[in-house]
Amino acid sequence: MNGVEQSNGRRSAGQLENNVLAVLWAADGELTAVQINERLPGGLAVTTVLTILSRLIAKRQVQRHRQGRSYVFAPVRDEAAYTADQMFSLLDRGSDRQAVLARFVSGLSEEDERLMKDLLQDREGR
Protein backbone atom coordinates (compact mmCIF):
# COMPACT_ATOMS: atom_id res chain seq x y z
CA MET A 1 0.00 0.00 0.00
CA ASN A 2 3.00 2.23 0.34
CA GLY A 3 3.06 3.17 -3.30
CA VAL A 4 -0.56 4.26 -3.21
CA GLU A 5 -0.05 6.55 -0.27
CA GLN A 6 2.90 8.13 -1.99
CA SER A 7 0.88 8.85 -5.08
CA ASN A 8 -1.97 10.41 -3.11
CA GLY A 9 -0.99 13.98 -3.72
CA ARG A 10 -0.81 13.36 -7.44
CA ARG A 11 -4.42 12.22 -7.87
CA SER A 12 -6.36 14.56 -10.11
CA ALA A 13 -9.90 15.74 -9.42
CA GLY A 14 -11.15 13.44 -12.17
CA GLN A 15 -9.38 10.45 -10.63
CA LEU A 16 -10.89 11.19 -7.23
CA GLU A 17 -14.36 11.43 -8.76
CA ASN A 18 -13.84 8.11 -10.54
CA ASN A 19 -12.70 6.47 -7.32
CA VAL A 20 -15.71 7.69 -5.35
CA LEU A 21 -18.01 6.58 -8.13
CA ALA A 22 -16.36 3.16 -8.20
CA VAL A 23 -16.77 2.79 -4.42
CA LEU A 24 -20.47 3.59 -4.67
CA TRP A 25 -21.05 1.18 -7.55
CA ALA A 26 -19.08 -1.59 -5.91
CA ALA A 27 -21.13 -1.26 -2.71
CA ASP A 28 -24.42 -3.10 -2.52
CA GLY A 29 -26.40 -0.45 -0.68
CA GLU A 30 -26.12 3.22 0.18
CA LEU A 31 -23.04 4.55 1.96
CA THR A 32 -22.28 7.50 4.20
CA ALA A 33 -19.38 9.81 3.42
CA VAL A 34 -17.36 8.22 6.21
CA GLN A 35 -17.99 4.72 4.83
CA ILE A 36 -16.99 5.89 1.38
CA ASN A 37 -13.79 7.34 2.74
CA GLU A 38 -12.95 4.08 4.49
CA ARG A 39 -13.15 2.22 1.19
CA LEU A 40 -11.22 4.73 -0.86
CA PRO A 41 -7.58 4.00 -1.66
CA GLY A 42 -5.28 6.26 0.34
CA GLY A 43 -6.37 8.39 3.29
CA LEU A 44 -8.46 11.45 2.40
CA ALA A 45 -10.21 13.97 4.61
CA VAL A 46 -13.98 13.42 4.86
CA THR A 47 -14.49 17.02 3.77
CA THR A 48 -12.63 16.24 0.54
CA VAL A 49 -14.91 13.26 -0.03
CA LEU A 50 -17.94 15.51 0.57
CA THR A 51 -16.66 18.02 -1.98
CA ILE A 52 -16.22 15.27 -4.56
CA LEU A 53 -19.69 13.94 -3.75
CA SER A 54 -21.28 17.35 -4.28
CA ARG A 55 -19.61 17.60 -7.68
CA LEU A 56 -20.95 14.17 -8.61
CA ILE A 57 -24.43 15.14 -7.39
CA ALA A 58 -24.26 18.25 -9.60
CA LYS A 59 -23.42 16.01 -12.53
CA ARG A 60 -26.35 13.79 -11.59
CA GLN A 61 -24.17 10.74 -11.23
CA VAL A 62 -24.82 10.40 -7.51
CA GLN A 63 -27.96 10.86 -5.42
CA ARG A 64 -28.24 11.41 -1.71
CA HIS A 65 -30.93 10.72 0.90
CA ARG A 66 -31.22 11.72 4.50
CA GLN A 67 -31.03 8.73 6.79
CA GLY A 68 -31.35 9.53 10.45
CA ARG A 69 -28.94 12.34 11.20
CA SER A 70 -26.63 11.91 8.21
CA TYR A 71 -26.78 11.64 4.46
CA VAL A 72 -26.32 8.43 2.52
CA PHE A 73 -25.14 8.32 -1.09
CA ALA A 74 -25.88 5.99 -3.98
CA PRO A 75 -24.98 5.95 -7.67
CA VAL A 76 -27.65 7.09 -10.13
CA ARG A 77 -28.78 4.30 -12.41
CA ASP A 78 -29.52 6.29 -15.50
CA GLU A 79 -29.48 5.90 -19.24
CA ALA A 80 -25.70 6.12 -19.50
CA ALA A 81 -25.19 2.74 -17.85
CA TYR A 82 -27.97 1.30 -19.98
CA THR A 83 -26.38 2.67 -23.16
CA ALA A 84 -22.98 1.31 -22.16
CA ASP A 85 -24.59 -2.05 -21.46
CA GLN A 86 -26.10 -2.08 -24.94
CA MET A 87 -22.62 -1.39 -26.28
CA PHE A 88 -21.34 -4.42 -24.40
CA SER A 89 -23.78 -6.77 -26.07
CA LEU A 90 -23.38 -5.07 -29.43
CA LEU A 91 -19.65 -5.58 -29.35
CA ASP A 92 -19.99 -9.08 -27.95
CA ARG A 93 -21.92 -10.02 -31.06
CA GLY A 94 -19.23 -8.55 -33.34
CA SER A 95 -16.82 -11.35 -34.14
CA ASP A 96 -13.65 -9.33 -33.59
CA ARG A 97 -14.46 -7.11 -30.65
CA GLN A 98 -11.26 -8.20 -28.97
CA ALA A 99 -9.33 -6.14 -31.48
CA VAL A 100 -11.85 -3.31 -31.66
CA LEU A 101 -11.57 -2.49 -28.00
CA ALA A 102 -8.56 -2.84 -25.85
CA ARG A 103 -9.84 -5.06 -23.07
CA PHE A 104 -8.25 -5.29 -19.69
CA VAL A 105 -8.00 -9.07 -19.55
CA SER A 106 -8.54 -12.01 -21.83
CA GLY A 107 -9.10 -15.66 -20.99
CA LEU A 108 -6.67 -17.97 -19.22
CA SER A 109 -5.68 -21.53 -19.87
CA GLU A 110 -5.78 -24.00 -16.98
CA GLU A 111 -2.04 -23.82 -16.55
CA ASP A 112 -2.14 -20.02 -16.55
CA GLU A 113 -4.90 -20.12 -13.98
CA ARG A 114 -2.78 -22.17 -11.61
CA LEU A 115 0.12 -19.81 -12.15
CA MET A 116 -2.00 -16.75 -11.33
CA LYS A 117 -3.37 -18.35 -8.16
CA ASP A 118 0.14 -19.22 -6.98
CA LEU A 119 1.19 -15.69 -7.68
CA LEU A 120 -1.60 -14.10 -5.65
CA GLN A 121 -0.97 -16.45 -2.71
CA ASP A 122 2.72 -15.77 -2.93
CA ARG A 123 2.24 -12.02 -2.74
CA GLU A 124 -0.33 -12.16 0.02
CA GLY A 125 1.80 -14.56 2.03
CA ARG A 126 4.66 -12.10 2.27
Partner: protein, 311 residues
Protein backbone atom coordinates in the same frame (compact mmCIF):
# COMPACT_ATOMS: atom_id res chain seq x y z
CA UNK B 1 12.11 -9.11 -62.45
CA UNK B 2 11.62 -12.39 -60.52
CA UNK B 3 14.62 -11.82 -58.31
CA UNK B 4 13.76 -8.22 -57.44
CA UNK B 5 10.09 -9.05 -56.79
CA UNK B 6 11.18 -11.86 -54.49
CA UNK B 7 12.96 -9.34 -52.24
CA UNK B 8 9.83 -7.69 -50.74
CA UNK B 9 8.22 -11.11 -50.28
CA UNK B 10 11.34 -12.44 -48.58
CA UNK B 11 11.37 -9.36 -46.34
CA UNK B 12 7.78 -10.18 -45.29
CA UNK B 13 8.87 -13.68 -44.28
CA UNK B 14 11.91 -12.33 -42.43
CA UNK B 15 9.74 -9.79 -40.60
CA UNK B 16 7.32 -12.52 -39.53
CA UNK B 17 10.19 -14.54 -38.10
CA UNK B 18 12.35 -11.82 -36.55
CA UNK B 19 10.31 -8.69 -35.74
CA UNK B 20 8.31 -10.14 -32.81
CA UNK B 21 11.49 -11.47 -31.24
CA UNK B 22 13.42 -8.24 -31.85
CA UNK B 23 10.62 -6.18 -30.30
CA UNK B 24 11.12 -7.93 -26.96
CA UNK B 25 14.37 -6.07 -26.45
CA UNK B 26 12.53 -2.75 -26.67
CA UNK B 27 10.57 -0.62 -24.21
CA UNK B 28 6.83 -1.46 -24.75
CA UNK B 29 6.06 1.96 -26.26
CA UNK B 30 8.85 1.68 -28.82
CA UNK B 31 7.99 -1.98 -29.47
CA UNK B 32 4.36 -1.05 -30.24
CA UNK B 33 5.46 1.65 -32.67
CA UNK B 34 8.03 -0.58 -34.31
CA UNK B 35 5.65 -3.53 -34.79
CA UNK B 36 2.81 -1.33 -36.07
CA UNK B 37 5.02 0.45 -38.61
CA UNK B 38 6.68 -2.82 -39.67
CA UNK B 39 3.29 -4.55 -40.10
CA UNK B 40 1.93 -1.65 -42.18
CA UNK B 41 5.00 -1.50 -44.44
CA UNK B 42 5.12 -5.31 -44.63
CA UNK B 43 1.50 -5.50 -45.77
CA UNK B 44 2.18 -2.81 -48.38
CA UNK B 45 5.26 -4.71 -49.66
CA UNK B 46 3.26 -7.92 -49.89
CA UNK B 47 0.36 -6.29 -51.75
CA UNK B 48 2.71 -4.44 -54.11
CA UNK B 49 4.80 -7.52 -54.95
CA UNK B 50 1.71 -9.69 -55.58
CA UNK B 51 0.21 -6.95 -57.74
CA UNK B 52 3.37 -6.82 -59.89
CA UNK B 53 3.36 -10.62 -60.31
CA UNK B 54 -0.32 -10.64 -61.16
CA UNK B 55 0.20 -7.84 -63.66
CA UNK B 56 2.78 -10.00 -65.48
CA UNK B 57 -0.07 -12.42 -66.23
CA UNK B 58 -2.62 -9.73 -67.02
CA UNK B 59 -0.28 -8.19 -69.64
CA UNK B 60 -0.39 -11.43 -71.63
CA UNK B 61 -4.14 -11.31 -72.08
CA UNK B 62 -4.64 -10.23 -75.71
CA UNK B 63 -7.42 -7.77 -74.92
CA UNK B 64 -5.22 -6.02 -72.34
CA UNK B 65 -2.15 -6.09 -74.62
CA UNK B 66 -4.19 -4.41 -77.38
CA UNK B 67 -4.58 -1.36 -75.11
CA UNK B 68 -0.81 -0.75 -75.12
CA UNK B 69 -0.41 -2.03 -77.68
CA UNK B 70 2.48 -4.28 -76.79
CA UNK B 71 3.81 -7.57 -78.08
CA UNK B 72 2.43 -10.58 -76.21
CA UNK B 73 4.87 -12.99 -77.84
CA UNK B 74 7.74 -10.81 -76.62
CA UNK B 75 6.43 -11.03 -73.05
CA UNK B 76 6.01 -14.80 -73.35
CA UNK B 77 9.66 -15.21 -74.28
CA UNK B 78 11.22 -12.42 -72.18
CA UNK B 79 9.20 -12.12 -68.96
CA UNK B 80 10.70 -14.60 -66.50
CA UNK B 81 7.46 -14.73 -64.50
CA UNK B 82 5.60 -17.87 -65.56
CA UNK B 83 1.87 -17.71 -66.27
CA UNK B 84 0.92 -20.16 -63.47
CA UNK B 85 2.94 -18.08 -60.98
CA UNK B 86 1.21 -14.92 -62.14
CA UNK B 87 -2.20 -16.58 -61.84
CA UNK B 88 -1.39 -17.86 -58.35
CA UNK B 89 -0.25 -14.38 -57.25
CA UNK B 90 -3.40 -12.85 -58.69
CA UNK B 91 -5.62 -15.32 -56.86
CA UNK B 92 -3.87 -14.79 -53.51
CA UNK B 93 -4.00 -11.01 -53.94
CA UNK B 94 -7.70 -11.07 -54.82
CA UNK B 95 -8.39 -13.28 -51.82
CA UNK B 96 -6.47 -11.03 -49.41
CA UNK B 97 -8.09 -7.85 -50.73
CA UNK B 98 -11.59 -9.35 -50.60
CA UNK B 99 -11.05 -10.63 -47.06
CA UNK B 100 -9.67 -7.25 -45.97
CA UNK B 101 -12.68 -5.48 -47.48
CA UNK B 102 -15.12 -7.81 -45.74
CA UNK B 103 -13.35 -7.45 -42.37
CA UNK B 104 -13.09 -3.68 -42.68
CA UNK B 105 -16.77 -3.45 -43.55
CA UNK B 106 -17.87 -5.70 -40.68
CA UNK B 107 -15.68 -3.95 -38.18
CA UNK B 108 -16.68 -0.54 -39.44
CA UNK B 109 -20.34 -1.40 -38.96
CA UNK B 110 -19.87 -2.59 -35.39
CA UNK B 111 -17.70 0.42 -34.57
CA UNK B 112 -20.12 2.93 -36.09
CA UNK B 113 -22.98 1.43 -34.10
CA UNK B 114 -20.90 1.57 -30.91
CA UNK B 115 -19.83 5.17 -31.51
CA UNK B 116 -23.37 6.23 -32.27
CA UNK B 117 -24.39 4.85 -28.91
CA UNK B 118 -21.39 6.42 -27.20
CA UNK B 119 -22.34 9.81 -28.62
CA UNK B 120 -25.54 9.64 -26.58
CA UNK B 121 -23.61 9.38 -23.31
CA UNK B 122 -23.28 12.58 -21.28
CA UNK B 123 -20.14 14.54 -22.21
CA UNK B 124 -18.84 15.03 -18.70
CA UNK B 125 -18.43 11.35 -17.91
CA UNK B 126 -15.14 9.69 -18.28
CA UNK B 127 -16.06 6.61 -16.29
CA UNK B 128 -19.19 4.63 -17.09
CA UNK B 129 -20.17 1.83 -14.74
CA UNK B 130 -22.38 -0.95 -16.02
CA UNK B 131 -24.29 -2.80 -13.33
CA UNK B 132 -23.53 -6.33 -14.49
CA UNK B 133 -21.88 -9.32 -12.80
CA UNK B 134 -19.48 -10.09 -15.65
CA UNK B 135 -15.85 -9.07 -15.37
CA UNK B 136 -15.33 -6.36 -17.94
CA UNK B 137 -13.28 -3.22 -18.41
CA UNK B 138 -12.48 -1.52 -21.66
CA UNK B 139 -11.54 1.77 -23.22
CA UNK B 140 -13.90 3.32 -25.73
CA UNK B 141 -12.12 5.85 -27.93
CA UNK B 142 -13.92 9.00 -29.00
CA UNK B 143 -14.41 12.58 -27.89
CA UNK B 144 -14.28 12.34 -24.98
CA UNK B 145 -12.78 8.88 -24.62
CA UNK B 146 -14.44 6.78 -21.98
CA UNK B 147 -13.64 3.93 -19.70
CA UNK B 148 -16.41 1.38 -19.27
CA UNK B 149 -16.22 -0.97 -16.31
CA UNK B 150 -18.67 -3.48 -14.87
CA UNK B 151 -19.67 -3.70 -11.22
CA UNK B 152 -18.50 -7.32 -11.45
CA UNK B 153 -14.99 -6.07 -12.11
CA UNK B 154 -15.15 -3.47 -9.32
CA UNK B 155 -16.40 -6.02 -6.81
CA UNK B 156 -13.77 -8.60 -7.63
CA UNK B 157 -10.92 -6.15 -6.99
CA UNK B 158 -9.73 -4.10 -4.06
CA UNK B 159 -10.12 -0.31 -4.30
CA UNK B 160 -6.42 0.30 -4.87
CA UNK B 161 -6.47 -2.30 -7.63
CA UNK B 162 -9.35 -0.80 -9.56
CA UNK B 163 -7.53 2.49 -9.58
CA UNK B 164 -4.74 0.67 -11.42
CA UNK B 165 -7.28 -0.79 -13.88
CA UNK B 166 -8.70 2.66 -14.62
CA UNK B 167 -5.18 4.04 -15.10
CA UNK B 168 -4.51 1.23 -17.59
CA UNK B 169 -7.62 2.02 -19.62
CA UNK B 170 -6.90 5.76 -19.51
CA UNK B 171 -3.43 5.08 -20.92
CA UNK B 172 -5.11 3.31 -23.86
CA UNK B 173 -7.21 6.40 -24.52
CA UNK B 174 -4.40 8.90 -24.03
CA UNK B 175 -2.08 7.22 -26.52
CA UNK B 176 -4.75 6.29 -29.11
CA UNK B 177 -3.99 2.61 -28.77
CA UNK B 178 -7.09 1.68 -30.75
CA UNK B 179 -5.40 3.18 -33.84
CA UNK B 180 -2.41 0.86 -33.34
CA UNK B 181 -4.76 -2.10 -33.05
CA UNK B 182 -6.67 -1.15 -36.20
CA UNK B 183 -3.46 -0.88 -38.25
CA UNK B 184 -2.09 -4.14 -36.87
CA UNK B 185 -5.28 -6.02 -37.54
CA UNK B 186 -5.76 -4.68 -41.06
CA UNK B 187 -2.12 -5.47 -41.92
CA UNK B 188 -2.59 -9.04 -40.70
CA UNK B 189 -5.75 -9.45 -42.79
CA UNK B 190 -4.05 -8.08 -45.92
CA UNK B 191 -0.94 -10.16 -45.41
CA UNK B 192 -1.23 -13.30 -43.24
CA UNK B 193 2.53 -13.18 -42.72
CA UNK B 194 1.99 -10.12 -40.52
CA UNK B 195 -0.06 -12.17 -38.03
CA UNK B 196 2.86 -12.74 -35.62
CA UNK B 197 3.57 -8.99 -35.69
CA UNK B 198 -0.07 -8.22 -34.95
CA UNK B 199 -0.11 -10.64 -31.99
CA UNK B 200 3.10 -9.25 -30.52
CA UNK B 201 1.91 -5.71 -31.30
CA UNK B 202 -1.30 -6.24 -29.32
CA UNK B 203 0.78 -7.49 -26.43
CA UNK B 204 3.15 -4.50 -26.70
CA UNK B 205 0.19 -2.10 -26.60
CA UNK B 206 -1.13 -3.76 -23.44
CA UNK B 207 2.32 -3.67 -21.89
CA UNK B 208 2.62 0.03 -22.76
CA UNK B 209 -0.64 0.73 -20.93
CA UNK B 210 0.49 -1.49 -18.04
CA UNK B 211 3.74 0.43 -17.64
CA UNK B 212 1.92 3.77 -17.71
CA UNK B 213 -0.63 2.57 -15.18
CA UNK B 214 2.08 1.16 -12.92
CA UNK B 215 3.83 4.51 -12.98
CA UNK B 216 0.58 6.40 -12.34
CA UNK B 217 -0.28 4.37 -9.22
CA UNK B 218 3.38 4.07 -8.25
CA UNK B 219 3.23 0.32 -7.65
CA UNK B 220 3.98 -2.41 -10.18
CA UNK B 221 2.85 -5.34 -8.04
CA UNK B 222 -0.48 -3.65 -7.39
CA UNK B 223 -1.28 -3.70 -11.11
CA UNK B 224 0.07 -7.24 -11.45
CA UNK B 225 -2.26 -8.35 -8.67
CA UNK B 226 -5.22 -6.54 -10.25
CA UNK B 227 -4.50 -8.27 -13.56
CA UNK B 228 -4.20 -11.71 -12.02
CA UNK B 229 -7.31 -11.27 -9.89
CA UNK B 230 -9.43 -9.92 -12.76
CA UNK B 231 -8.27 -12.69 -15.08
CA UNK B 232 -9.08 -15.34 -12.48
CA UNK B 233 -12.47 -13.85 -11.61
CA UNK B 234 -13.35 -13.61 -15.29
CA UNK B 235 -12.75 -17.31 -15.83
CA UNK B 236 -15.75 -19.35 -16.89
CA UNK B 237 -16.41 -22.49 -14.82
CA UNK B 238 -14.92 -24.70 -17.54
CA UNK B 239 -12.07 -22.84 -19.13
CA UNK B 240 -11.40 -23.55 -22.77
CA UNK B 241 -7.95 -25.15 -22.71
CA UNK B 242 -5.28 -22.73 -23.83
CA UNK B 243 -7.49 -21.23 -26.52
CA UNK B 244 -6.91 -17.64 -25.45
CA UNK B 245 -4.33 -18.09 -22.74
CA UNK B 246 -1.02 -16.33 -22.88
CA UNK B 247 -0.88 -12.57 -22.71
CA UNK B 248 -2.12 -12.05 -19.14
CA UNK B 249 0.42 -14.29 -17.37
CA UNK B 250 3.13 -12.79 -19.56
CA UNK B 251 2.04 -9.27 -18.65
CA UNK B 252 1.92 -10.19 -14.96
CA UNK B 253 5.40 -11.65 -15.10
CA UNK B 254 6.71 -8.56 -16.89
CA UNK B 255 5.23 -6.34 -14.19
CA UNK B 256 6.77 -8.38 -11.40
CA UNK B 257 10.21 -8.23 -12.96
CA UNK B 258 12.18 -5.01 -13.14
CA UNK B 259 10.92 -2.05 -15.23
CA UNK B 260 12.00 -2.30 -18.87
CA UNK B 261 15.52 -1.11 -19.61
CA UNK B 262 15.98 2.21 -21.33
CA UNK B 263 16.68 1.31 -24.92
CA UNK B 264 18.45 -1.04 -27.25
CA UNK B 265 18.59 0.47 -30.70
CA UNK B 266 20.18 -2.57 -32.37
CA UNK B 267 16.89 -4.35 -33.02
CA UNK B 268 15.26 -1.13 -34.25
CA UNK B 269 18.09 -0.74 -36.72
CA UNK B 270 17.71 -4.32 -38.02
CA UNK B 271 13.98 -3.89 -38.64
CA UNK B 272 14.50 -0.50 -40.32
CA UNK B 273 17.12 -1.99 -42.64
CA UNK B 274 14.80 -4.89 -43.49
CA UNK B 275 11.98 -2.48 -44.35
CA UNK B 276 14.30 -0.33 -46.50
CA UNK B 277 15.54 -3.45 -48.27
CA UNK B 278 11.96 -4.49 -49.01
CA UNK B 279 11.03 -1.03 -50.32
CA UNK B 280 14.15 -0.93 -52.50
CA UNK B 281 13.30 -4.39 -53.87
CA UNK B 282 9.76 -3.34 -54.67
CA UNK B 283 11.03 -0.18 -56.38
CA UNK B 284 13.48 -2.21 -58.44
CA UNK B 285 10.78 -4.73 -59.41
CA UNK B 286 8.52 -1.86 -60.53
CA UNK B 287 11.33 -0.37 -62.61
CA UNK B 288 12.10 -3.80 -64.14
CA UNK B 289 8.46 -4.29 -65.10
CA UNK B 290 8.32 -0.85 -66.67
CA UNK B 291 11.49 -1.54 -68.69
CA UNK B 292 10.10 -4.87 -69.87
CA UNK B 293 6.87 -3.31 -71.11
CA UNK B 294 8.73 -0.49 -72.84
CA UNK B 295 10.61 -3.16 -74.79
CA UNK B 296 7.37 -5.01 -75.53
CA UNK B 297 5.83 -1.77 -76.83
CA UNK B 298 8.90 -1.20 -78.99
CA UNK B 299 8.82 -4.77 -80.36
CA UNK B 300 5.17 -4.36 -81.32
CA UNK B 301 5.90 -1.05 -83.03
CA UNK B 302 8.77 -2.56 -85.05
CA UNK B 303 6.59 -5.43 -86.21
CA UNK B 304 3.37 -3.61 -87.01
CA UNK B 305 4.05 0.09 -87.54
CA UNK B 306 7.51 0.19 -89.08
CA UNK B 307 9.26 1.25 -85.90
CA UNK B 308 7.07 4.31 -85.19
CA UNK B 309 4.96 4.36 -82.08
CA UNK B 310 1.60 2.88 -83.00
CA UNK B 311 -1.48 4.98 -82.47
Amino acid sequence: MPLSVAVPLAVCVLLAVTAPRLSRALVPRVAAWMLTCAAAVGAALWTGALALLAFAGLGRVRAVAALGPWSVSFLHTQDPVSTPLACAAGTVLAGCLAWAAVTAYRRGRVLTAAYRKAARLPDDRELIVVDAPRIEAFALPGRPGRVVVSTGMLRSLEPAEWEAVLAHEQAHLRHHHHAFLHVLHLAAVLCPLMLPLAREGEYAVERWADEEAAEAVGDRTLLARALARAALAGQPAHPAPAATGGPVPRRVRALLSRPPARRRTGSLLVVTLLLLLGLAGLGQATADTRALYEQALHTYAVRHCGGHPCR
